[in-house]
């Protein structure tokens, strides 16, 4: 990972916190974003991701800590002097200005010469392929077009950092996927640092260099999309990104140091835990549905269960198994010719390779 030196960091948060009376919107947080990086703040609503974004934008001031933007202490700097760009979910285009005027606005604020403004706006319009609507008002455009205009309005003045607050939340699924690629393309072409806020895990996985997963006003875990998906460190991370089977139990450690988890469904071999654990600790075994398979013989580690339902999701099939203790396991298989055909009510085995499981500390009781 390129967790770079301070010199190459675009944003540096040092112990930043925000509270409203007794409510901690954001607990003490350190975060560094490198120049040119695409970082996503992912989390449920109320997790503190919008607070973090607003702190960086300067719309609220932190209760504690320091914010450094591009090497400059910006903790108390007014919003309009931070040199940022922002894209909102509801586009926030000026209704009384044409598309051209909207994109020209930040350049006029910077008092650029007219000819240069015209040239830069034309370039930005080309970049988003909307040159033909320059003279229209925002309300005459579709949602996707409006969001592209608001992107162009950011790009045109080359801000140090572009903040995006759920920018695709108002668009339908197809358009959203298209815009995700478009934003990725712009990021790759222009090398602008981007901080993207979303509650949509797929969006975060698709777009980010790094995901910062937030929960309850603090950073739960951060890392590449791969790392977050394959190496979640907590039950929250595992459940928020991707779907998961979680089997709670008690840790057993054999004489040779190998780990096992004693659960209501049996005792299973477990890989070395992410956090240090000792025998007798409570823990949770995580197995992703796609790492499980329906098996006839119990060759690998497996759990018996009765097939409750199978649903077809196009390329994949999801089986729901009811186990002896009443819990449900999800098994996901590729939907291809020759896949196991089990019927509702059949007693089957859900198996997995022990190396694909992950041992997590139990969810803290809130």
């Amino acid at each position: 990972m390129t967790m770079t030196t301070a010199a190459a960091a675009m944003i540096e948060l040092e112990g930043v916190a925000k509270s409203y009376g007794d409510v901690h919107a954001l607990r003490r947080t350190d975060l560094s974003i490198a120049k040119g990086e695409f970082v996503t703040l992912l989390g449920p609503s109320g997790s503190g991701k919008s607070t973090l974004l607003n702190l960086i934008a300067g719309m609220i001031t932190p209760s504690a800590g320091r914010i450094v933007i591009d090497g400059r202490d910006a903790t108390t700097l007014p919003t309009n002097q931070r040199g940022l760009g922002m894209v909102f979910q509801n586009y926030a285009l000026m209704p009384h200005m044409t598309v051209f005027e909207n994109i020209a606005f930040p350049l006029q604020v910077r008092r650029l010469p007219k000819a240069e403004i015209r040239r830069k706006v034309a370039e930005a319009l080309d970049l988003i392929q909307l040159g033909h609507v320059a003279d229209r008002r925002p309300r005459e455009l579709s949602g996707g077009q409006q969001q592209r205009v608001s992107l162009a309005r950011c790009i045109v003045y080359n801000p140090a950092l572009i903040l995006m607050d759920e920018p695709l939340g108002a668009l339908d699924k197809k358009l959203r996927e298209q815009m995700q690629l478009e934003i990725k393309r712009l990021h790759a072409e222009l090398g602008i640092t981007m901080l993207y806020v979303t509650h949509d895990q797929d969006e975060a996985l698709t777009m980010s260099d790094r995901i910062v997963l937030m929960n309850g006003g603090r950073i739960e875990q951060q890392g590449t999309p791969d790392a977050l998906y394959f190496k979640p460190e907590t039950v929250f991370s595992a459940e928020f990104i991707g779907s998961s089977n979680l089997i709670p139990g008690t840790v057993q450690i054999a004489a040779d140091g190998t780990c096992r988890l004693k659960t209501a469904l049996g005792t299973f071999p477990a890989p070395a835990p992410a956090a240090p654990m000792k025998a007798g600790d409570r823990a949770v075994l995580l197995i992703r549905p796609e790492n499980m398979a329906i098996e006839v013989s119990g060759a690998t580690t497996s759990v018996p269960g009765r097939l409750e339902d199978s649903i077809l999701l196009g390329g994949v099939v999801r089986h729901f198994l009811r186990c002896a203790d009443g819990s449900t396991l999800i098994v996901q298989e590729l939907n291809q010719p020759g896949r196991s055909v089990a019927h509702r009510g059949d007693l089957i085995q859900a198996g997995w390779q022990p190396g694909h499981a992950r041992l997590l500390p139990p969810q803290p009781a809130n």
């Binding site: 309009n80 931070r82 760009g85 922002m86 509801n90 926030a92 009384h96 606005f105 604020v109 309005r153």
Partner: protein
């Protein structure tokens, strides 16, 4: 709704007849002056027995009438302008800032709407007499600014209520200063509600009589005061012509307001 007022055709007929009767009752006194204004220049009579524009000619040529008309227009224009300059930024500040005591401040601004006009007139009369502002144009203008500012503020605040704060935020992030944001982002969105407030203020000042009666004299008499005193002292039929002209002007302004309000609703 229909259940509230009864659904039968008879009930509806009765209600609408009653409404129209009331409406006509309110409207007739204003309308009756119109035929009179085209009638006998010697005395007020209804129905008129001849058709002539003599009364209008008298109005436009008599310097006493024409002078107070110009005075009224000047007062109304200056009042509207100054009230706008005061009310629009004040409304913006009240709507957007997190100033402590904001509610109290708003109440203070709205006060002139609540104090009886006659009390206001008397108070201003006493105060202005010690300041030497009686019978001056500045005096009436000041009083009218006080009366009209709250109305503009109400209109502008409702416009601000409909406008999108995110636009101001995004402008600030793009580097715009507060002043730039006010002139280039906020004002354009408020155009219609400012226009409505301004027309209201203009109209109010133009036919305000109570306070102006206290404050004006021979040198600064506004048209409504002149009309009022001419009823008391001479009762000339020129009044009918003046009333007709004022009615037409008010009607035009009211239509303007209605159009503008339609626009604000359409854009919101």
């Amino acid at each position: 709704m229909s259940d509230l007022f009864g659904t039968s055709r008879l009930a509806r007929g009765v209600v609408s007849t009653a409404a129209w009767t009331c409406y006509l009752f309110l409207l007739l006194p204003s309308l009756i002056v119109i035929p009179i204004s085209f009638g006998n220049p010697g005395q007020i009579e209804f129905p008129p027995r001849q058709f002539t524009l003599q009364l209008y000619r008298q109005f436009f040529t008599d310097p006493a009438w024409w002078g107070s008309t110009v005075q009224s227009l000047v007062v109304a224009c200056v009042t509207t302008l100054v009230a706008l300059i005061l009310a629009v930024p004040a409304a913006y500040a009240l709507a957007r800032s997190r100033l402590p005591g904001r509610a109290g401040l708003r109440g203070l601004f709205m006060m002139p709407m609540l104090v009886p006009v006659i009390v206001l007139g008397l108070g201003l009369y006493l105060q202005f007499s010690s300041w030497g502002l009686l019978d001056t144009t500045a005096g009436v203008v000041l009083a009218h600014i006080m009366l009209t500012t709250p109305y503009i503020m109400v209109s502008v605040m409702s416009g601000l209520h409909h406008s999108d704060v995110a636009l101001e935020t995004v402008a600030s992030i793009m580097g715009a200063s507060r002043v730039t944001i006010f002139f280039r982002v906020v004002l354009p969105q408020l155009k219609a509600s400012i226009a409505v407030g301004a027309l209201f203020a203009f109209l109010m000042s133009l036919d305000e009589v109570v306070v102006a009666y206290f404050l004006t004299g021979q040198n600064s008499m506004t048209l409504p005061v002149k009309m009022y005193s001419s009823i008391r002292w001479e009762l000339t039929p020129v009044l009918a012509a003046v009333s007709t002209l004022l009615t037409v002007l008010s009607l035009l302004i009211a239509l303007g307001i209605i159009r503008m309000q339609g626009k604000t609703e359409a854009s919101a």
